[in-house]
Symmetry: C2
Subunit: 415 residues, 2 copies
């Protein structure tokens, strides 16, 4: 049940563009019991692609190829795969009729080029494409399966569900992938790894991966199970890691931090307002990424200038002059002020120096304060965050969200 994925397209060999189709394809192949052991990316070149397909046939029982099924000369997948398999291309009369009907419905003449899209590798089943003009193909060849799919995600993704999965699932057998994920906030990746490595090293049969994504660290555990084998090792490892990291684990179900916060805010009947300086709106973007967030999120003030900090968030001019905009005092005043201005039960603020300019010996680039205010008073946290402007802003956002989470969990009572 070894699978490999080939992405076709010269644009995927430039410095600008990643192949992301293969991520979605991998998720579905795994669900059907297939393990992806190779991925390749190749340009719009008949010879290169044909060579790659021949190599893949020697090592994989399932080959999924995305892209290169369009109508132009640059779309070489049909011809290259036909060549690799030593089969001819034949025009499928039914597909040709459908293509012509499709253009006729739009009152457009069908360009001659599009006739190429009716060519099918001999012996292949055509896979219908409800969204675009390029049909896919399902080919069986000497015990292997080869699947051809168009490159645009909005065509490829529905075709996987409608045409590929129903054919794959019966082939996948009893093997399945057991997975567990944990996400951790407030600890750097190196510290998480040092803490959990002694645990996952005791479970060599489980593949454990750490991934630092912006402001949180994800741990993914997975194991391929044979028929009759249970997921006990993955479950036990996940439970032990969770126990060792305690409340730093914010989810065991791939929820985002803002989903977790939404649940906690709704459950506690709190409403939230934000005062964002260096993050420029990032905390607001996170909080409002959840549908229904208007139940607990009232809004915020992007207080980029000192004038806005004073006028809209009520920070006294004297405080700004004495302590500076990036200070514990101003952070707490912002949190209190925005809570007042928006009449929320909780106010959160972030102020910091995102750089690259604006730092000093006393207040270096990366110095960030987050603060929280409620009816009882206010508290703050302080960090010096390494990295570039983007990383400092991203991590400042998680710092604010982390402060909110700790408060809602009862770990950081305000005042």
């Amino acid at each position: 049940m070894k699978a490999e994925i080939i992405a076709v397209g010269s644009e995927l060999l430039t410095p600008d563009q990643c192949d992301t189709n293969s991520l979605a394809i991998t998720a579905r192949l795994n669900a059907a019991g297939f393990q992806v052991h190779f991925k390749s990316i190749v340009g719009d070149d008949r010879g290169d692609l044909a060579g790659l397909v021949k190599g893949a046939l020697s090592r994989s029982s399932l080959i999924v190829i995305s892209g290169g099924l369009g109508p132009t000369e640059d779309d070489v997948t049909r011809e290259a795969v036909a060549k690799a398999l030593g089969r001819p291309l034949v025009t499928n009369a039914e597909i040709l009729r459908e293509l012509r009907a499709r253009f006729a419905r739009r009152n457009q003449p069908m360009p001659h080029n599009n006739e190429r899209q009716a060519e099918v590798i001999e012996g292949a089943e055509a896979l219908p494409n409800a969204v675009g003009t390029a049909p896919g193909m399902w080919i069986e060849h000497r015990g292997a399966r080869i699947v051809l799919l168009p490159g645009p995600p909005r065509e490829l993704l529905p075709m996987i569900e409608s045409s590929v999965m129903p054919r794959l699932v019966p082939l996948g057998g009893a093997r399945r992938l057991a997975t567990r994920s944990l996400r951790i906030i407030g600890l750097p990746e190196s510290e998480v790894d040092a803490g959990v490595a002694p645990l996952y090293q005791q479970f060599p049969q489980v593949q454990t991966t750490l991934l630092a994504a912006g402001g949180y660290v994800g741990i993914r555990m997975q194991q391929w199970l044979k028929a009759g084998e249970d997921a006990g090792a993955v479950e036990e490892l996940a439970a032990r890691i969770r126990e060792s990291l305690g409340s730093a684990v914010f989810t065991t179900s791939e929820e985002s931090l803002e989903e977790v916060l939404g649940r906690l805010l709704r459950k506690s009947g709190n409403t939230l307002a934000l005062a964002e300086s260096c993050t420029g709106g990032m905390v607001g973007v996170r909080m409002t990424s959840i549908p229904g967030s208007s139940d607990y999120f009232l809004g915020g003030i992007i207080c980029y200038s000192n004038e806005v900090k004073k006028r809209l968030c009520g920070v006294p001019e004297e405080l700004l002059r004495r302590c500076g905009a990036v200070s514990a005092e101003v952070a707490e005043a912002l949190a209190r002020g925005v809570r007042e201005a928006l009449q929320s039960s909780i106010g959160i603020s972030v102020t910091g120096i995102a750089g690259p300019g604006g730092g000093s010996d006393h207040k270096p680039v990366g110095l960030v304060y987050a603060a929280l205010a409620n009816a009882d008073g206010s508290i703050h946290t302080r960090r010096i965050i390494p990295g570039d402007r983007e990383m400092i802003r991203e991590r400042s956002t998680y710092m604010a969200l982390s402060l909110l989470r700790n408060h809602l969990l009862g770990k950081e009572p305000a005042a």
Copy 2:
């Protein structure tokens, strides 16, 4: 001068993680005159990787392999490449000494595992790693070059500059890559393609790629030039596309839209304030991503609730009741109100239905208004944006930025 890139790591075969190292590697290889014609991703498996390297040697003169140089059993790159080349691994006494010294400086005993990182393929040059424990390798083998680099970007990227580029540039010869990029705002990808396809089809020697990225469409043109050949075709095509698209092209130098806007705001002496509803802060995040943006960006109000629209942005309750929060009238009132509240010269607002809930026949999900106010009055634009919540929010942001750009270019005078 055919190059290929292999990324090693089982985590890169999960649905969570793309290989992004290869993008940066491609940019540098191109600069040295090497064309990348294959990329592969393989797990931590000696046999799989050795097979891949053998295949690569048959078709490429340069093979760059990233990852799998760590100290653990899972780090198989040294052994797999040694096996593919039929060469032994030998312990390099100098590297071993340096590794021991590195641990000693931190007062830590060196784990036995780390000794593996001193193993070098016979005949390889070790490439120093200033940041981590894994040295790289440069190997010459029957006319081909194989480069081994560690996976973490903060180790890999400096090693490319310090050790790989100085060795590659003399090999690259006189070939070079001519590239030009344009970025377009306000037109969907299909419309851009329909407009420019007749132009780029006249330049088959230029590889032209369209890429829709969030809210803008990028066009990249590139051509590999032989010694003595000039970039005339790329330049001419870029000029003709630019002429045909007119002011929809916001940059020819890979600037972001917010950089362009920053320049226009600074030049015109304007200051900006934002009122964001459905975008929840996205416009603010964009505007503040540019260092020095405090020169022209004062701040904004995330007016997610109607209360905030009334209290902080001065929208009359009667207007909200009569027209609804998502309406041309309220959009303009928000732009005027935030301009007033923050005392900026320009106010910009966005209000819309990001979904998935909240739509009606009259006001469907995706309905978005953006408005702009200045001393002369206010204007708005309206769109129905297809896609999911994230796409609607992203494109609403570009809609607001596009309105601002048109105004600053004198194309949309307010009132």
